[in-house]
Each structure stands twice: as C-alpha cells, then as structure tokens.
C-alpha cells in the first residue's frame, strides 16, 4: 500500500506522510544496492511484469533491477509490436498478462490516463511508469529522494522546472511531489510550452527563465524533443539552447549549492550544456542510482503485505 492505494498512478492524492514513507523505505533499499551482494529475498516468489507500450530502456531497466534486487521475478513485455494488433484493445492485452498472475504490473504507455483505466480493471497492483503527458510518479519520487538526501529537508526549497511543461509527465509528478513536501515550485520555458492553469496544481509560472533560476535550490531541466507538432511550439533546437538552455552563465543566478537535475536522457548542448551536465552541481547520475532504490521501495510497499498501513 502507498497512501490508501494498492496502485501507484500519480503523486496527486498522496500526503506528505505517504511520500515520506516511500522515501524512508528507499533509504534501506539504497543500502542494499551498495552491498557486494545486492540482493535480498524479500519478494521471493513474486512476479513483476514490465509492460512497456512505449520504448524506454532506462525506466524499464531500473524497474527490472529493482525487482531482481528484491528477488522478485521480473518479466519484460515490450508491447510496441503486439499491442497494436488490430482488434485487441489495451484492456485485452493487459487482461492477458494478468491471467499469468503477476503481483505487480509496471506500465508505460503513450496515452495519458492509460494506467488509470487499467487499474480499475485489474486485481494486481499497477505502477505507472509514465503515461502520456500525465505523470511519472517513480521519477517524481526519485527526484524527491535525491533532493532530500542532499538537502536534508524539502521544506522551503525553491525548485524550478524548465522546459516543455505542457507535455512533461515528469513535471506533473514533480509539481505534486515537491509542493506536497513544502517546496516552492516554479515552472519556466517558452510560453508555448507552459500549459494554462498550471497554478491549479500548485506551481508558479516564473516571469522568465532567469527569474526562475535566480536563487533556486534545485533546477530540473526537461528533455526537449523535436516531434512532429513541435514546429508550432519552438522554431528549433539551436534557438532553444540559446534562450532556454541551462549554461554556466545562467547557473550563476542560482544558489551556490544548487542541484542540477534531469530525468534523462539528456540532450547535451540543447537544454543543458555539457559542462553543467558533468559539473559538480549535477546530480543526474545519482538520480539514476536513487531511481533503483526508490523503485525497490515502491515494489516492496505494493507487492504483498496486508492492506493495513504499518507505522
């Protein structure tokens, strides 16, 4: 159980205490991950299915390693080819998987809300590994973990998220997570990439990129992608890098001990310059390490155990 749910679909609806519980569990998981023998028998006999309808080697690998370190059997089901078989709906596909009795299904899907729909219809636990532009809760949690580990506390921190907020599931989970933990969250990016009513989620729109970075404790840069519709959003990557990318000069506006984060994969020289990505303020690789620990914690809390909430 995480919060009151056997699923993890998003960070909305989770209280600070629920989020803290996952982060606390992840501390023990990180200790396991740093041992010589990086495996504990906790989830022996459990089955975790990674059901990815969209390619994502990193997140899938991270969940797979997390499951294996807890001794669960991890099975990967890449559905890019078979899912689009005509006549079979998403529900059909997932019901098929469910018939094989997994304990947790980790789902990545290109459409927002896909995991919500499935969670209503499945007996097993569902973990959202990213659904469309909606949420990516395990990424949000690992971002919280990384910042808490570095800063000790999240309360009162200035967190700025920069990039295509409209189409970012990471941004949504981060906004919910950081604001719930008491941080002040700003979003910034080209005006074409700031969605209407983002204030309803608890974020503030920074008046400019520079104003957002100024005095920031945490900067989360989002990957920018040129997709078929993005021509209407930005003219091109070169201009984006120049006006909306994070470089050494802009970074000076932030606090000296600012953390630079990125959900990966990074576009060097586009949203983030190489010197920053590899610089001392960057915790990008630690995010990846923490991602395994946080995902272990998620699987641990959802996979088995009784439904009462433990202390």
């Amino acid at each position: 159980m995480i919060g009151k749910s056997r699923h993890l679909l998003g960070l909305d609806g989770l209280a600070a205490a629920d989020l803290t519980r996952v982060l606390d569990a992840a501390v023990g998981m990180k200790e396991v991950s740093r041992r010589k023998i990086k495996k504990v028998p906790t989830l022996r006999g459990k089955t975790v299915v990674n059901l990815f309808f969209e390619p994502s080697t990193r997140t899938r690998t991270s969940f797979e390693i997390a499951a294996k370190r807890l001794s669960a059997d991890a099975v990967n089901f890449t559905a890019s080819a078979s899912s689009t078989v005509k006549g079979e709906t998403l529900i059909d596909t997932v019901k098929n998987i469910e018939s094989m009795a997994p304990d947790v299904v980790v789902i990545r899907h290109k459409y927002s809300g896909a995991t919500h729909m499935l969670s209503d219809r499945l007996r097993c636990s569902v973990v959202n590994a990213g659904d469309g532009s909606n949420q990516h809760p395990s990424q949000g949690l690992l971002d919280l973990y990384t910042v808490r580990e570095k800063k000790g506390n999240l309360k009162g921190l200035k967190v700025v998220i920069a990039g295509d907020i409209t189409h970012s599931r990471v941004a949504r989970s981060d906004i919910y997570g950081f604001t719930r933990m008491g941080a002040e969250v700003f979003v910034t990016g080209p005006p074409t990439m700031i969605p209407p009513g983002i204030e309803h989620m608890g974020a503030k729109v920074a008046p400019s990129f520079e104003a957002g970075i100024e005095g920031a404790d945490v900067i989360i840069m989002l990957r920018i992608q040129l997709e078929r519709r993005s021509g209407a959003l930005i003219p091109g990557l070169r201009e984006y890098a120049r006006f909306f990318g994070l470089n050494a000069q802009r970074l000076k506006l932030a606090k000296e001990d600012v953390l630079v984060m990125h959900p990966g994969p990074i576009n060097r020289g586009v949203e983030i310059s190489s010197e920053i990505a590899d610089g001392i303020q960057s915790v990008i690789l630690e995010q990846v390490e923490n991602g395994v620990a946080v995902r272990m914690a998620i699987l641990y809390l959802l996979c088995g155990g009784t439904d009462e909430v433990a202390d």
Binding site: T89, G132, M201
Partner: protein, 430 residues
C-alpha cells in the same frame, strides 16, 4: 384508436396555455383540448392527474448511425430511445456510412423509420459530397427525398467558399445549413477543453476559440451574402455572445445547445472518464453559466440532444482513442427539468426550446397542443426521481456521463400520430 388524456396539466408553449384540462387524440391529430371533454366512446383513457401533458419534443440534432454503424445504433433503436425520452421527432445527421449525401440514403433512412413506426424521423443531408468539404451535395435531390436541412455535423466545413455557397444554394430548396462550428487548425489533436483540467490530466486541449473562430467566419458570410444558419451545440459563453450580437444585427442565425453543456463542465473528465469525452468538449463553469444565460435571454432558441451513441468498445479505451459523444435521448427531458428546478428557466421557456421553436426553425409539423395538430403528445411525471442507469437504455449507446446521477422527471406515455408508442410500465407499445 382514440385516446383521451384526462386531468393533466396541459402545457403548450405555442399558445401559452397552462391549465388542467383534458385532451382528445383522434385520427392522428389532436381533436380537442378543453375542460371536461365528454368521454367519447371507445377511447383509451389515460389518467394524467398530477402529470404534465406536453407536445412531443423535437430533437433537431441526433445521430441514428444507420446505415453503416448499426452496431452503435439503428434507426429503430434510436427511435425507441427517443420516444422513451419524450422525443417524438428527430432530425438525424448525415455522418452515416455511406454519408447521407444523396436520395438513396435518405430514402433508406426514411424506410427504416417507417418500419420502426415510433418517432418521426427527418434526415439531414450532408453539405458536401461524402462530407469531404470539397464540393456541394446534391441538395435539390436531398430535399426532394425528404431531407429538411443540410449539415456536415461531426466535421466543420473548413473551406469558406464552400460554406458561403452552401448557405446560398440550400435556400433554393427550402433547406438551411446546420453549422458544426470548429476550426480544426485550432482544435488540433485536442480531446477535451483546454484549461486547468487538461493541464492537470496531461491531455491535449481544444481551445474555446476553435468554435468561435469558425462561427465568426460564417456569421461574416451571412452578413455579406444573406441567408440563414443554425448553429449546432453551442458550448461557450463567447459563442453565445457572438450569436447574440449577430441576432441583434438582424442576421438570421439560430442556435441550439445540449443538456450536457448546461449541466456539466470540464471537471467531468477528471479520472479520464471517456463518457464525458464529447465534441465540442465540456467547457468551464463560466461557459455553463454563459450557455444558461443564452437560453434564458432567448439567444439560444433550441435545446437538442446531439445524441451520439457509441459501442462500449469505442469508449472502453485510452482517453485519446475514445470516440467523442454522449448518448442523450433518454436523459434530455430530466436534465432540462433539472435546469428548470434550479430556477434558471421557466418550465414554459424550457419546453418552448424543445417544441415550437425547433418546429418553426426546421419547418416541421408538431410541437403544439391545438386542435388539428399532429397528435404527438407526451405525459410526464415531473416529480418522479430516478437514477440514470445506462443498462436500462433503449438506445444501443450506453455512453453517458450521467450514469448513476439522480435526476427528476420521467415520461409516462408518449403518443406519436395519435398512437401510444411508449408506456412507462409496458415499455415500447407498438
């Protein structure tokens, strides 16, 4: 068969009559309305004490899906749903397969309607051949076959010249254009209203301007070239304002809205509820108020269902992939009474928009309770509370965001052409 409906509260928006009286149906027409009609021998009797007696409702906008999409709805199942909902006449849109762009499809629909023998069905032909937006349909032929209007509903007519010519050409045959106003270049790949809810859910939005932009173009065409249009499914305050101004100018613009636009807003989508996925999308709370104000001040003269039935498989999918539309025939009456109950519209005004107004605008018979008029009459228990249960729908489309909602007002009997076609206790009675 003769029917005597006794002691009901007769409400006839056309004449303004609102009194307890009897009404006699004979030979397909209303034979008389009055206090204490002497019981005529052999007449079936309906005791309507405490009930409302209204003209059958006319729905200017629904989708009966036949031919081509019989798994969603047929003319027969749609007509059954209509009469259960108190709707005795429906205008059905042309986005069938094949599209209703010629006399053969129109005749096919009318055949099916005659077989069903329930509601009166008035086909709407397409504006353009195949609804492709490129060249005009054979409107003369459509009119001759029985179409009462033309519309590419489901799609706008993106080409401004085609729209201009359609307005002009259709008039020659007594037709008028029903405008599905949507600028696709603004609507893009949106699946719901663009606002804080779409932001929260990470869904692509449809800005309000998508509707207004095309509507404004069409109003400009009317201003310059004359003619008339009827604007379908008005959903925003800005559209109401635009229409109000156009009417104040004296342009021949009429408009309709649907029960879901004065009942629900964008928040109905929260939880990715595909039953609330509809085009135009459910807008903001302020837009709902704007639509209600438009109804109250007469800018919007018509309420229609935009009944858009779909198969469960088309809704039980990812939100982005789900079909747009709400199955509306069987909830329209209760939702309209809900608006009356909230005090936003008088009972008389509300049913004006379901009866005499659509009859006038579309040139249809019915919509009045006067001697000599077609005997299309409904008896309504306005106080009856019930819970919307799509499984009990007669429509094949169970797609409704009102599932589980407690509503008030239910049809007791429906008469079409003097025949009782629906009885609450017995169901369809023909």
């Amino acid at each position: 068969m003769k029917w005597l409906i006794k002691g009901g509260r007769i409400l006839d928006p056309a004449s303004g009559r609102d009194e307890v009286a009897d009404i006699l149906l004979e030979d397909g027409v209303i034979a008389g309305v009055g206090k204490q009609i002497v019981e005529s021998r052999g007449a079936g009797k309906v005791q309507a004490k405490g009930l409302l007696v209204l003209p059958g409702m006319l729905d200017m906008h629904c989708h009966l899906r036949e031919p081509g999409f019989e798994y969603k709805e047929t003319v027969a199942s749609g007509a059954a749903a209509a009469v259960k909902g108190g709707i005795t006449s429906v205008m059905c849109m042309a986005n069938t397969n094949p599209v209703n762009d010629g006399a053969s499809v129109t005749a096919y629909i009318l055949d099916k309607a005659a077989d069903a023998g329930l509601a009166r069905v008035y086909p709407v032909g397409s504006v353009t051949k195949g609804m492709k937006g490129e060249s005009l349909s054979e409107m003369g032929e459509l009119a001759a076959a029985g179409c009462v209007a033309v519309s590419d509903d489901g799609h706008p007519v993106p080409n401004g010249e085609i729209m201009r010519r359609a307005i002009q050409y259709s008039a020659a045959f007594g037709l008028f254009v029903i405008d599905h106003a949507e600028d696709l270049s603004i609507a893009g790949e949106g699946v719901m209203h663009e606002g804080y809810v779409s932001t929260m859910l990470g869904l692509e939005g449809i800005p309000t301007s998508a509707a207004v932009s095309e509507m404004a173009r069409n109003i400009a065409l009317l201003r310059e070239f004359g003619g008339r249009i009827h604007i379908a499914h008005v959903s925003t305050r800005s559209a109401v304002d635009l229409i109000r101004n156009a009417r104040a100018e004296g342009l021949d613009v009429t408009a309709e809205t649907c029960p879901h636009y004065f009942t629900l807003d964008q928040e109905a989508v929260i939880g990715y509820d595909t039953s609330a996925k509809v085009k135009p999308p459910l807008r903001t709370a302020d837009d709902v108020q704007g639509v209600i104000e438009g109804l109250a001040d007469g800018t919007i003269e018509v309420i229609a269902t935009d009944h858009a039935p779909h198969h469960a498989d088309e809704k039980d999918v990812e939100f982005d992939l789900a079909a747009f539309g709400i199955s509306g025939l069987e909830t329209a009456l209760a939702l309209t009474l809900g608006l009356v109950e909230k005090g936003r519209l008088s009972l008389m005004d509300a049913f004006t928009k379901w009866t005499v107004n659509p009859a006038r605008i579309a040139g249809l018979p019915g919509g009045r309770l006067e001697a000599g008029q077609p005997a299309d009459v409904i008896v309504v228990d306005a106080d009856r509370e019930w819970t919307v249960d799509p499984a009990a729908f007669l429509s094949k489309g169970r797609n409704t965001p009102f599932r589980g909602m407690k509503v008030r007002g239910q049809v007791v009997n429906t008469f079409v052409g003097g025949n009782m076609v629906f009885d609450r206790a017995k169901g369809i009675t023909r």
